[in-house]
Amino acid sequence: MSTVVVGYVPNALGGAAVLQAAEEARHRGADLVVVNTTRADRLVDPAYADSADVSELEALLARTGVGYSIRHSISEATAAEEVVDVAEEVGAELIVIGLRHRTPVGKLILGSTAQTILLTARCNVLAVKLP
């Protein structure tokens, strides 16, 4: 059974990425693995889903009707490393991520999760834009 991995953040872009990933999974007859992790190195991490976000996500996934699992945990690795690692672990045939505009300074200081995934992933990557 093939697999599609999607990186999720609790906002509109993350929702769009998950919907698109579910679409792809249905086309391919694949299972969906949703990844959302935090390094817990800051007091507030808006990219990490709380329990309310997770139940919302589950409701969304249930509506799409594809088989899914959610990887939601605290991890040592960055979000980008975590997505790529999970993709390799499950032998994913596609990674789906949300893509947003970043300022050059922001990229310089914090790096870009999307860029890291695009460059290090072994499989194809689908970058979803905010509709």
Binding site: A40, D41, R42, L43, V44, D45, P46, Y48
Partner: protein
Amino acid sequence: MGSVDNFFLLMEGFTTALQPMYLLYALGGVLVGTAVGVLPGIGPAMTVALLMPITYTLEPTAAIIVFAGIYYGGMYGGSTTSILLNTPGESASIVTALEGNKMAKAGRGAAALATAAVGSFVAGTIATVLLSFVAPYVAAFAVQIGPVEYVALMVVAFLTVGALLGSSVLRGLASLGLGLFIALVGFDSLTAQQRYTFGSPFLADGIDVVLVAVALFAVGEALYVGSRLRHGPIKVIPVTGGWTTWLRKDDLRRSWRPWLRGTFIGFPVGTIPAGGADVATFLSYASERRLAKGENKKQFGKGAIEGVAGPEAANNAAAAGVLVPLLTLGIPTTATAAMMLVAFQRYQIPVGPQLFESNSALVWALIASLYVGNLMLLVLNLPLVGIWVKILQIPRPYLYAGILVFAVLGAFSVNFTPIDVIILLVVGILGFFMRRFGYPIAPMVVGLILGPIFESQLRRSLAISQGDPVALVQSPIAATIYVVLLVIFALSLLLKRRQRQFEAMVAANADAPDVVRGTVQSSGTTPAVSIRREDTDR
């Protein structure tokens, strides 16, 4: 000194503080102060200690204005995290979290933030007015006292700071004793004998206060945070609506009385060394709870606006009150005040009763800058809450790496020897263990700073009395001070018991402040116990 004279001196202070350059310094101070107030675990005391090297380049007025801005800013910043995250940024905001976070959860976060900011402004301004008019009289009284009375006052400061800050009297006194001991290292000022130097020339000059303070606050804190880095992140409760609509008429009607009561509870509590601002916030909360009637009373524990307005006013008023003993007697009662005293010492400005006479321009410029800083903080805090909350997203490794770099630079700049950096790290490790086992840090810093002054005054009074210790209690003023000390102690023990009952009640409350998850607490204790652990850095 007539009060008209004081008024003119204050106006002269304003002409200094309102110069564009000093306005910029004040703005910088309050910005930094708010930022560190927002961040749990990083407080104004650590910040002033880290920024002590600016005393090498800035002139005294500018540096003191920056530090005062940090001090006041920290008081404002703490309330934001208390309300929106239930994680108090500093100890004086713990009580705010009780009602403030409930309000935020009920969608009234904006009103809580507004009443905290406006209340802080009202209380800060009134308390600064009180400071302007009370301090010169205390100073006029203080110049008349001799070494014997001074010794009595310092005993008061030692015991209240040592015994009343922190959860346990013994731990506080142990920390104080450690500070007094480190103060002994180096040349004896009267006989030039070396004490506890092990013959090492590096220890002959003593261990610099800033070194110890930076080590305890910055290095100890960084190690502590490093030891418990990976707790899950916390959600910020979003604030909706423009800030102009935050405080409704009804909120204002319920807030203004707690603001005023908080001010008049906070200022005296800050003035007498009774444990600083957090005692004042607790007293204010308790009295608001008792005074509330009917519908409002039922709201307590579920998000009553009085429970935010009162304590927030009280902590700012206490912050101004703390400056009274600092400026008139040279006695700091909180860690931040102690660091400001160090700044004065760096400039060779004699702190103590003479300060108001010998450096009146500086003192009045400082007081005037407090008025200015308060206004700036009100303007900054209401519209910019979103930005302050963003600060919490900074990854902690970045933050603490920056702090450690500053700490090491500061340590190296004391004498430009690597030995100081080694001392910094050793004391930092000590600070980590003190933090880990719940020993408050403030008494150690206060003991370290007041120790040498205490020693010289004590020996001077004993020299005058030719070694007769009875002389220490014979002066009527000194005797009065000791009696007052006993009364303060009896009262404070009573107060402590009340506070403990109160905290037990809070702990029983299922949704007690989430301090365990912040960087500030050790785990394994109940929230109420760990609340008391926190008052190390203020």
